[in-house]
């Protein structure tokens, strides 16, 4: 096996790992990974919020289909969801959809289902006494939700949201499958081109992912400690 490791392959292609073909071509590599994760995260936060609220609506004609949808998505591998988007999006939107958008939609759809569960748990976790106290002062239902339940619930949910974001960062690696040149794809490309340093390349990107995710995991833990309501006796 000769010289065991040769990390020149990393230094030689460093720019490519970081930003792909940018600015000569589209953004790729780590930059695209972060872009995909951030955009999907923002979108799925709002979708998840809406889904979560709808899933708690008393009217079964609304909550039942919403819950069914959430459960179906949660029952599927992300890979399947991405393949579905790949097929259905162009049909639904009546126009061509770039792969990176396909992946963003897939990640958003998938993650919204999980976000909705976080929202749900956050809302259900607010003690009944809070709602009762608010109702007793004469606040209407939507006011109770807006002024009392959501502010407390969202704050309680922040650590889970951050954790979900970490999952998203990891999940963007599946964009590889449909040929979006994010970090994993770029790594395989370099691996394919050089064909001699798979160990070096995969260790390198694993470490890249690790630092990125670990930073957010730590943030979530820190927030969890910071944001915990001190128990009201």
């Amino acid at each position: 096996m000769g010289e065991l490791f040769n990390f020149n392959v990393i230094t030689d292609n460093f720019t490519y790992f970081m930003i792909g073909r940018f600015p000569n071509g589209p953004l790729g590599g780590l930059g695209l990974t972060i872009y995909l994760a951030v955009v999907s995260c923002i979108l799925s936060f709002f979708c998840g919020l809406v889904l979560g609220l709808l899933s708690l609506v008393r009217n079964p004609f609304i909550s039942y289909p919403v819950n069914l949808f959430i459960n179906i998505v949660r029952g599927l591998p992300l890979l399947m969801v991405i393949f579905w988007m790949y097929f259905l999006l162009p049909a639904l939107m009546g126009r061509t959809v770039p792969e990176s958008q396909t992946v963003i939609m897939g990640l958003t759809l998938f993650t919204s289902a999980y976000m909705s569960q976080i929202v749900r748990a956050g809302i259900v976790g607010i003690p009944k006494g809070q709602t009762e106290a608010a109702i007793s002062t004469g606040l209407k239902h939507w006011q109770v939700m807006l002024y009392i339940v959501l502010p407390q619930g969202l704050r309680n949910m922040i650590p889970s949201f951050v954790n979900q974001f970490v999952s998203l960062i990891k999940d963007t690696s599946l964009a590889f499958i449909v040929g979006v040149s994010e970090l994993t794809q770029v790594a395989t490309q370099v691996n394919n081109r050089t064909m001699a340093y798979p160990t070096e390349i995969f260790i390198f990107i694993a470490i890249l992912y690790f630092f990125l995710c670990y930073a957010f995991t730590s943030l979530s833990r820190w927030l969890e400690r910071r944001l915990a309501w001190r128990k009201a006796i």
Partner: protein, 244 residues
Amino acid sequence: MIQFTGVHKWFKQLHVLNDINLRVTPGEVLVVCGPSGSGKSTLIRTINQLEPINEGKLIVDGMDLLDKKTDINKLRAEIGFVFQQFNLYPHLSVLSNITLAPLKIRKTPKKEAEEQAMTLLARVGLAEKRDAYPSQLSGGQQQRVAIARALAMKPKIMLFDEPTSALDPEMIGEVLAVMQDLAGTGITMVVVTHEMGFAREVAHRVAFMDHGVVLEEAKPEEFFRNPQHERAQQFLKQLLSPMH
């Protein structure tokens, strides 16, 4: 002010309120007592319809609670409710806890609402805590803020559901003092409590419940000296001297 006529309520099979007939006149302080599970909380919660009733008639402040046309939110704004567990909003400061409902429901101007809130805080002895958060207060202080919050809507009726039973013995006194002070202002009050000292000194009338039935209604002096019902005798004996 409050008039129960043949009120019944069931939780599934459980008959929690059984033919309640009870009248509270304006300015009256009624203490409700009775053993655990007897339906006291349920009774008091029907008054602002936190629990709907199944049968009978319930008139509060001239409005029929079973009438579909009654605006329940408006009625609730006229009734202050103080819970056993305080239920202050942990994400709002003491001041905001008190001003939230006046601002959002009564549309009171902010300045006025805050002035009122400060008057109330002074009255419960917590003026200096205006910017504190609930978690920074002791239980007794939280409960006094909860009373101030209920009073901020200038209610005609105040309901208390065991307001001192989650408190350490040392803090009970401060909350009872505020309640006694309040009773002196002539507001209508219904209080569920085990504090027989309070009942004896402040209540105009005591109602004793067991198994969803109001077994006895009497002036406090009569009730304590000479309870009519056997169950009430037992209850008082246990409560006043836990040893024998």
